[in-house]
Assembly symmetry: C2
């Protein structure tokens, strides 16, 4: 993996993480209360936004994953109520179904940095790659490249280590949905790549890892890696069957894609980018 | 408090619970992984259904709080995937905005018992009252009477004790919503009673107790007692101001009330009750 360019260097799993697996994974799991975590729902696009903060750190640093333009006020009001200092506004990928809130958030909260993958070919303050770590006080997220739904999709996974949240949490974007996955017919999508991404980058995580997707259309809020390995109707199939399923979905043309994709490549601030 | 009539007796807070508060409430909180917990959303009525199970118990007993008729198939399919044995289908109160799924669930899963408060004057297998405990393997829920939105509203709270989930979780129905509360102008509602219920039965819980309401209309999924004590725009007011707020809401007549209330008083199986 490439050396990390921001904030912290990536390293192989530490002995401490093995110790934790051995010692703590019994009748008692340890959840450091330093993590404040909130899942937030945007109804029109059925999008989940996630708020994470390290409240044990004096600054109470916080980040938002996949904020939506329409719900920025709600999200920032919660950040304020909880006394958090927002430092990152991140996307898992360039969304085609809604406008990201990252640009608005940058306008409204000075100092916030927008984050997206370098592979998305978008503008943002931090362009992250596989192996990077995003630090939040003493917590961190690992970046895993999970292309397939789009070329630049990433999955953010909470750290491995005794002092990190247990079970781990994977923010999978549209790569892995609960009992489903994102479409692969636009934005440099590839069913073969999505299949490889899920199997190599997500299904290799501990089975109790919590799966938090960017969307759910049936009212599910969370799943686990183990559950999706057993019950995902698409990704439990072999690769050829999976590719044939994805080729025969016959989905309509994404309604907002022509507006949302260009906007989201500049943090949702399309007009300003056009003027600049 | 009245002696418990089902499954277990209620008792005052045990020394173990004080010990836990002293010992565990520091940098590390303990979350027994024996609890499997899922929050589920029904979009049309913005209702949250909750699934709880004790997966450390050989039977993996499970219960559902506030299931909705339209999403019973989803809920039971999740119960099946997780290998759980559903034993209770519970309501926090007689809902006026959707039809409960408890009757359908009883039909589809033999042995499941429906649960509602005695004060709701409804039919169910278990009619619970303040002080009762509902056991789920080695986990349990306390019943707290929280009238005000309806005469029969209860709040179910996870147990106090070293072997119970930490932080505690309160399933508040429509008594306390995130930054709001249920209306008090129908079904034996009373703003004065709701105010007293929240202050005496919910705001007296530990501040880190998680608040899981029956509805949210803005996409919030959870709050805490401490957060609502500080930021609930209604319940932070004095009682007179609260009553005046509730009297001046000018809400429309509840759309489904004439269908839903009679149906929900017989677990959503109105036609069958009429024929019987
Ligand atoms: Fe997407
Ligand atoms: Fe209600």
């Amino acid at each position: 993996s490439s050396p990390s360019r921001f904030l912290s260097s990536s390293k192989p799993p530490s002995p401490a993480s093995n110790l934790r697996s051995g010692v703590m994974t019994g009748p008692m799991g340890v959840q450091p209360p330093k993590l404040v975590f909130r899942q937030l729902f945007e109804k029109e696009s059925s999008t989940y936004t996630y708020l994470l903060a390290d409240v044990a750190h004096p600054d109470k640093p916080a980040l938002l994953i996949d904020p939506v333009d329409r719900t920025v006020d709600r999200d920032l009001s919660l950040v304020k109520d909880l006394g958090l200092k927002l430092i990152y506004a991140m996307n898992t990928h360039v969304h085609a179904d809604h406008i990201t809130g990252t640009g608005l958030i940058k306008d409204m909260v000075p100092g916030v940095k927008s984050v997206i993958s370098k592979a998305s070919h978008s503008k943002a303050d931090l362009l992250i790659e596989a192996g990077d770590k995003i630090c939040l006080g003493s917590l961190f997220l690992e970046v895993r490249a999970t292309p397939g739904h789009t070329l630049g999709c990433v999955t953010y996974v909470t750290g491995d280590g005794l002092d990190q949240p247990y079970p781990r949490m994977a923010f999978t974007g549209d790569t892995l949905l609960i009992r489903g996955c994102g479409r692969t017919d636009f934005q440099g999508g590839s069913s073969s790549q999505l299949y490889q991404s899920v199997h190599s980058q997500i299904f290799t995580l501990p089975k109790d890892t919590l799966v938090y997707p960017a969307h759910d259309y049936k009212g599910f809020t969370v799943s686990t890696v183990g559950e999706e390995m057993l019950y995902n109707p698409r990704l439990t199939k072999d690769e050829e069957t999976f590719k044939s399923i994805m080729e025969n979905l016959n989905l309509p043309y994404p309604k907002m894609i022509d507006v949302a994709v260009p906007a989201n490549m500049v943090c949702g601030l399309q007009d300003r980018a056009a003027k600049a």
